[in-house]
Symmetry: C2
Subunit: 309 residues, 2 copies
């Protein structure tokens, strides 16, 4: 299923790069390299060329950027600004099912205005990671007719920046959000009705992430359901959603088509890659992941929903 010889178009990822301080059930971890762009580019680069536009402070380790580069990520668009890197401090519940934000320090991210290197403007696949929707819109003005524009967002923007977010929704093909955010955005608990409402706001495709319950795709072809890979040892869910979105885009770029079959396979692949993310603290599992490991687990995931016909 995961071919290694396809031509591929670059995936441009705009998002955050961060230090995360994590209080996990199994361990406390400080200065963990994180951020939506970090997770998404690592997973997209498993399948395709990934380019990142993000900002870090002068305290961000060169080594971390080199790790991305060593995984094939084009890091030319990572801006190094004077000041401290964005920091998120969070505490997870014992069962990892919920988390509390203890502190958010925007630091250099407060003044971030994404500027695309000239070579990035023609990127055919664009993933607008979870940042202020006004910045997501700014990025859209700088790109030239991408094949696919996907965006993520979060509760904070849905409640606080709804008009700007609605503006963005008109201009993207695919929205990737979790089910709580879907319900909040649509003001509707029923997932099917909520999906119809959000699709009527612009995006023709909606991907709903449901954590341990899998993910759903709503598009003109109907509904597709991808299960989550059942993990025995969950360590850290941070970045799993970003990893999912990155893998989705990377796989679609590798496939080279956006037909229904590719979209559905892309959800299965994305669910698979995201499951690896949860097995380590931060990106530690992702940075050693290879396509062969993904292919093996994808087979397990396929078996999970297989029944005789």
């Amino acid at each position: 299923m995961i071919h290694s010889t396809r031509s591929q178009d670059p995936v441009l990822i705009v998002g955050s790069m961060a230090f995360d301080d994590l209080e996990l059930p199994s361990v406390d971890a400080k200065d963990v390299i994180g951020g939506s762009a970090t997770y998404a580019s690592l997973s997209a680069s498993l399948f395709s060329e990934a380019r990142v536009v993000a900002v870090v402070g002068d305290d961000f380790p060169k080594q971390a950027v080199e790790t991305l580069a060593s995984r094939g990520v084009d890091v030319e668009g990572i801006e190094r600004a004077r000041g401290k890197t964005f920091r998120w401090v969070g505490r997870y519940a014992k069962n990892l099912a919920s988390r509390t934000t203890l502190d958010t320090q925007l630091n250099v991210f407060a003044d971030f205005r994404p500027k695309l290197p000239a070579a990035y403007r023609a990127s055919p696949y664009l993933l607008l990671g979870n940042i202020h929707p006004a910045l997501q819109l700014e990025v859209l003005t700088q790109v030239e007719r991408p094949k696919l524009v996907a965006a993520d967002t979060m509760n904070f923007w849905i409640s606080g920046e709804r008009p700007t977010l609605l503006e963005l929704l008109k201009k993207i093909d695919t929205l990737v959000i979790n089910d709580e955010e879907l319900r909040q955005l649509a003001d509707e608990h029923n997932v099917k009705r909520a999906a119809a409402r959000v699709r009527s706001l612009g995006p023709r495709r909606l991907v709903v992430k449901r954590g341990e319950y899998g993910a759903m795709l709503f598009d003109d072809h109907g509904i597709f359901f991808a299960p989550a890979y059942p993990l025995e040892d969950e360590v850290d869910p941070t970045g799993a959603g970003d990893t999912f979105a990155g893998a989705l885009m990377g796989y679609l770029s590798r496939e080279g088509t956006l037909d229904e079959s590719s979209m559905r396979k892309a959800l299965m692949v994305a669910a698979t890659v995201a499951s690896f993310c949860v097995e380590g603290v931060g990106t530690e599992r992702l940075v050693s992941l290879d396509r062969a490991q993904v292919a093996r687990r994808l087979e397990d995931l396929r078996t999970l929903v297989h029944f005789g016909h």
Copy 2:
């Protein structure tokens, strides 16, 4: 998939018959005919011969028993006792995702001792609906080597009657519970680890119901995932879990084998039938349901998890 010409063994269902007073978001409904045996026998009888052992009071409408009989349910084992029928009063949250028990009146159910008519003792498929585990054990002493024994239970017995429940678990093949109950029974949040723990207590098969997120089967062959049918108009989830269990047993009886393929199909069929249950108040949708309608929706459910190979 749903064959109409197979031979079939009877499914014996032991459980409750009840009046339910329901406070639903869309309507308040009193004296709704309910109970685990009612829902399970209606759904099992779609596929196979179903027999019920339960107790009702002298206030229970004859009409309701006749409705079961008209759907092909063998009602000989329904005992009519002096007194009032078991009553459950519940209120659902606006989004139907949670419910509160406002009142439980055991009435004639308080003295219920299930007695199997002689003709029922050789029933090859036995579903022990959610009643006191001591009564479930009593039923087991009265049956002759069934092919398959499945049981349901609930949080109330898991916390209050654990030793008796553990005794029961040693004697059944298949446990059918929801995910919260699984976590409570195993004292473990992770579903995969919880499933392994519960299976080590006796049942070789575990079916975990997850409401709108579908259902999972854990057995010697691994894990199978059946999605829930995405409903646009959810009316009343009461009895959906019992409907699921009844359909599972009815379908397995019709198939006549318990191999992996039949088990997986049975979960898909059970998820389909349960989705109909939620579309009406009480059993109103189930009593008019036929196999052709189930077969059509099953095709939709199959499409939901289909992707190219």
